[in-house]
């Protein structure tokens, strides 16, 4: 019986010590668990200021993708994209600029820095780099690519040639996109607005004179483009040669022979 009581007393002491150790352990777990959770929460809270801002900025840049894809030509100056959007049913183009810095500021993400560059390998691509730095020095970066999809080549309109060429003619053809020059240019003359080519009638080739007329001056690009191709023939023609022309985005339309109907 005595032995039994002795054992009971030792067990009680052990239980007390165990409870003490357990309580220390529980308190340690509680504090460390809370601190871990708080650290994660702080990181998430901080991230929401920066990651969400970056996402918003990227979404804003991407939202400009549709109209930029439809641009005939563009340039980038001081992180501003200036472009001519091809709009059907109008004179052909709408001159537009994208001020990302201003747009981001309006969207409430002025802490994001924007850098706009053109691609060295693809002239149809604009690279928009976004970056921001949080209070702890952590850097958040993202890159978005905008791609121009259309080719502003000076092509004949859907209606084809508007003249019959049944007699010596001076025929004015409104181009689908304006031409900057005939092609190829020479080192001495970077812009050629008059050239010669051929027309065919029966079994005879004859020289025709081609001119680019109807100038439009694009101030942002300091470029003059021409809306109309003028062909002057000295004989009637059944086949007309259309020379190569260079467009606003440097796309060159291929040479072709067109049958007169």
């Amino acid at each position: 019986m005595k032995v039994h009581k002795h054992i009971q007393g030792m067990t009680l002491l052990e239980v007390v010590i165990s409870m003490l150790l357990l309580s220390i352990l529980m308190i340690t777990v509680a504090f460390s668990g809370t601190s871990v959770l708080l650290a994660v929460k702080n990181r998430v809270d901080a991230s929401s200021n920066y990651v969400l801002a970056m996402n918003k900025a990227q979404a804003l840049v991407l939202s400009k993708g549709e109209s930029f894809a439809n641009s005939a030509t563009f340039n980038v100056t001081n992180n501003v994209i200036n472009y001519l959007e091809a709009v059907t049913g109008s004179d052909g183009f709408t001159s537009t600029s994208i001020y990302f810095k201003k747009e981001l500021s309006n969207a409430g993400v002025s802490n994001v820095t924007v850098a706009v560059t053109t691609s060295a390998t693809d002239p149809n691509i604009v690279v928009v780099s976004l970056s921001t730095v949080d209070k702890t020095g952590r850097r958040y970066e993202n890159t978005t690519i905008l791609r121009k999809l259309i080719n502003a080549a000076p092509l004949l309109p859907r209606d084809g040639l508007p003249c019959s060429f049944k007699a010596p003619t001076t025929c004015s053809i409104p181009l689908l996109f304006p031409a900057v020059s005939f092609f190829p240019t020479t080192e001495a003359t970077s812009v050629i607005t008059t050239t010669t080519g051929s027309v065919f009638s029966g079994s005879t080739f004859s020289t025709a004179t081609y001119s680019l007329t109807g100038p439009i001056y694009y101030e942002s690009w300091n470029i003059t483009a021409y809306k109309t191709l003028e062909i002057a023939t000295s004989i009637s023609a059944s086949l007309v040669q259309i020379p190569k022309m260079k467009g606003l985005d440097s796309t060159v339309s291929d040479e072709l022979w067109v049958k007169v109907e």
Partner: protein
């Protein structure tokens, strides 16, 4: 107080404190997810638009049918990770050459069906240049590209 009850209250209080800490955490993660989804959808749309143009370029360049304004449908779908592209092209006019065509003018409609959003229709026009000597490749110039709601554009493939 019953010690067992005290222990239970302590545990419940601890769980409550942890839960309160978890609420903003969960909210933050939800915000991240929805924000990332918006960006992912927009990136998916941009990639789909680029792919649609390339798909149409291929079908125009390889088309051998006469220019009749009839829509050419039943073309193979383009499969992307974020959805599918169903194209229809139609040759609306042409300019004759000595033999055949010099230019063919095309309209195109591509329905983009993303896996988790409403369908979008990419529409536009293109001009195909057919070389006289038939030895060089045809060239397809895109002259217009536009995004439309697939429901609003009757020509878009369903």
């Amino acid at each position: 107080m019953n010690p067992k009850g005290l222990a239970l209250v302590t545990v419940m209080g601890f769980i409550l404190i942890l839960s309160l800490l978890m609420v903003p955490l969960a909210l933050g993660i939800t915000q991240f997810t929805s924000s990332t989804n918006v960006v992912a959808n927009k990136i998916g749309m941009a990639e789909a638009r680029n792919s649609a143009v390339e798909l149409v370029r291929y079908y125009i360049a390889t088309s051998t049918t006469a220019c009749t304004s009839e829509p050419i449908s039943g073309l193979h779908e383009g499969k992307l990770a974020q959805g599918s592209l169903t194209p229809t092209i139609s040759c609306t006019s042409s300019i004759p050459a000595f033999n055949g065509y010099a230019y063919r003018y095309w309209d195109f409609y591509v329905t983009y069906k993303p896996t988790n959003a409403a369908s979008v229709c990419f529409t536009g026009s293109a001009v195909e240049y057919l070389p006289v000597d038939y030895t060089t490749s045809t060239v397809v110039y895109f002259t217009h590209v536009e995004d439309k709601d697939a429901e609003d554009e009757p020509h878009c493939p369903r």
